[in-house]
């Protein structure tokens, strides 16, 4: 989780990713951020996030995103 928070903080240092739960709904992360984020996650966690996984529920918070990473890791 800490690694993920580091990646997110590097993208938007002004956002408190540990508590923010509306990253998509509040337009904090846009589509360009998401693509960069996916590339970064793919490198660090060695999981493949596909277009099917890109729904607000998976990206609205760092917690939800980490749950997605864990799920994909288990499936691999």
């Amino acid at each position: 989780m800490e690694e993920l928070l580091n990646i997110l903080n590097e993208m938007h240092p002004d956002v408190d990713f540990a508590t923010e739960e509306h990253l998509i709904d509040n337009m904090i992360l846009d589509s360009l951020d998401i693509v960069s984020l996916i590339a970064e996650i793919s490198d660090v966690f060695d999981v493949t996030i596909t277009a099917r996984d890109i729904v607000p529920a998976n990206f609205n918070s760092a917690k939800a995103l980490y749950a997605l990473i864990e799920k994909l890791d288990n499936e691999a």
Binding site: M27, D30, S31, L32, I34, V35, S36, I38, A39, E40, S42, T48, I49, T50, A51, R52, I54, V55
Partner: protein, 528 residues
């Protein structure tokens, strides 16, 4: 049958009456029949195209859905027998089957769209190349009529099929329900491009008449007619004069602002009518605009304008392309070759380029639209690259939160949109660039205040009506920021409501741009 035609009002009156008088189980077939009648009024050949899309996507969806179910049942039944690797191999083999159905159906429907919409554009370009090389034997143009709303219903159907393929929407088994989703008439000709998950349920539920919902629907329609007939069609005359007579300089400046006003009133007005008709039928259709001209950047504007189209391109083209395996491989290569920073941004650049190229092509078979798309891409990517500079500027001068700076950013974005809209006003690239250049070279900005603008098809009264119409639209947008306008009006005492709604009705009747021999213009987005 345009939304502004008398036939449409007759059609709608009969539909409303029959819809609410018949038993509720008849509502769905009635809506489908009404949608086909509406569509057939534009030409019977168009009906064949929409039926072809409906049937092919329906069957492909069923096959993909069946395959997903079979896969799930097979894996469940053999949960203990198969190891992880065998399960993965089985899933992969089934995915290939589904992908064949998906790709085959997409290619078929995109081919239909390409032929009817882009074949003559392609032929014209081939002929230009042939004549440039002095070759004879030019290709003949096809005489195919563009089916009404084909870009909208094709994209809506493709979106459904991809959702079924991804497993995020169930395959619709009922052909009538699916046909209604594809052809629901209010949104057929200019959107919004709905998602199956958002529309199908509300579309197929039984709907009891409620006076509040019906009135809200009619009020939304009235608001749409106000925008279209009082503002958009009034501006049309001036924009046509400026572009048609190839006026220059200050006229172009006035024309691009007037066209941006027209486009807003026309497109949002058309969507208001579409959403209002659906609402009067008890059906909720998603919003397509979120006060776009209040945007502080082009990026924000494209999140607030034609939302359903932009989100379609994002979900079904941008994300799949930028996260695809070949793109990931290319990103790794680019990071090694061009460095970490540039390589990481490569998928974003490439996917954004493809999306804006496709968006331009989607808007029309014309180089103007393609260059318009690429200009949007260029501005967005330059803004993205300059973002660190903006951040440093905002930190240094702390102007980000100040009202005047917000106004400046809104004004700057509006002006940028006006300039980009020039591509929509002229039929050729040379005409567009020539008109834009003339703003700085013609030296006639005085036409903006010396009364010359009274000779472009608008009288002083027209300008007065436009000023009031624009002020009303602006006022409504401001009020909307704190909640629904109709809900707020509904909470007012009866005399206030009466004055507001009948005032709007009278405004449409008295100030609508019609008269002897006037034929309400079709909506700009009908041609897409």
């Amino acid at each position: 049958m345009f939304f502004t035609s008398y036939e449409f009002f007759g059609f709608l009156t009969v539909l409303f009456l029959v819809y609410y008088l018949l038993p509720k189980r008849c509502q769905q077939p009635l809506l489908l029949a009404a949608s086909y009648v509406f569509y057939a009024a534009a030409g019977l050949s168009g009906l064949l195209y929409i039926l072809a899309t409906t049937v092919t996507v329906y069957f492909a969806g069923l096959r993909i859905g069946d395959n997903l179910k079979r896969q799930s049942a097979y894996l469940k039944a053999r949960k203990a027998e198969l190891d992880k690797e065998q399960k993965r191999a089985y899933k992969e083999s089934q995915m290939h089957v589904r992908r064949r159905w998906l790709v085959g159906c997409l290619l078929l429907n995109l081919a239909i769209l390409a032929v009817v919409k882009y074949a003559n554009f392609f032929i014209a370009n081939v002929n230009s190349i042939l004549s440039a090389f002095g070759g004879g034997g030019e290709l003949s143009f096809l005489s195919l009529a563009l089916p009404l709303g084909i870009s909208f219903y094709t994209f809506q159907s493709i979106g459904y099929l991809i959702d079924v393929y991804r497993g995020t929407a169930p395959a619709e088994k009922n052909l009538m329900r699916f046909a209604l989703f594809v052809s629901f008439f209010p949104q057929l000709i200019q959107g919004p491009i709905s998602r199956y998950g958002d529309l199908s349920e509300t579309l197929c539920q039984p709907h009891a008449f409620t006076s509040r919902q019906f009135c809200f629907g009619l009020q939304r329609m009235l608001w749409g007619y106000f925008k279209k007939l009082v503002v958009a069609d009034r501006v049309l005359a001036a924009v046509s004069t400026i572009t048609g007579d190839q006026m220059t300089g200050g006229y172009v400046l006035a024309g691009m602002v007037l066209y941006t006003l027209e486009l807003y009133a026309d497109f949002t007005g058309g969507i208001d009518i579409a959403i209002g008709v659906a609402e009067a039928l008890g059906i909720t259709v998603q919003e397509n605009f979120h006060r776009p001209y209040f945007s502080k950047s082009l990026k924000e504007y494209w999140r607030r304008w034609h939302i359903s189209m932009c989100s379609w391109f994002r979900d079904y083209l941008f994300y799949p392309l930028s996260t695809s395996k070949p793109m990931q491989r290319f990103t790794r290569f680019a990071r090694k070759r061009f460095g970490e920073k540039v390589g990481r941004r490569m998928p974003v650049y490439i996917a954004t380029f493809v999306v804006w190229f496709a968006t331009g092509v989607w808007h029309g078979a014309n180089w103007n639209f393609i260059v318009w798309g690429l200009c949007n891409f260029a501005v967005l990517m330059i803004s993205e690259e300059l973002e660190p500079l903006y951040s440093r500027f905002h930190q240094r001068f702390a102007v980000g939160g100040q009202s005047w700076y917000k106004f400046f950013r809104v004004g700057r974005t509006f002006l940028l949109i006006c300039v980009l809209n020039l591509f929509d006003c002229y039929p050729t690239l040379s005409g567009t660039f020539g008109a834009f250049a003339s703003i700085f070279t013609a030296g006639n900005w005085s036409v903006l205040w010396d009364g010359s603008l009274l000779s472009i098809g608008l009288s002083a009264l027209d300008y007065g009506i436009l000023a009031i119409g624009t002020a009303v639209m602006l006022g409504v947008s401001l009020v909307q920021r704190s909640g629904g306008v109709r809900e707020k009006i509904a909470a007012k005492p009866y005399p206030v409501r009466f004055v507001l709604w009948y005032g709007l009705f009278l405004a449409v009747l008295l100030a609508g741009a019609y008269g002897v021999g006037y034929d309400a213009s079709q909506f700009i987005y009908n041609q897409f």
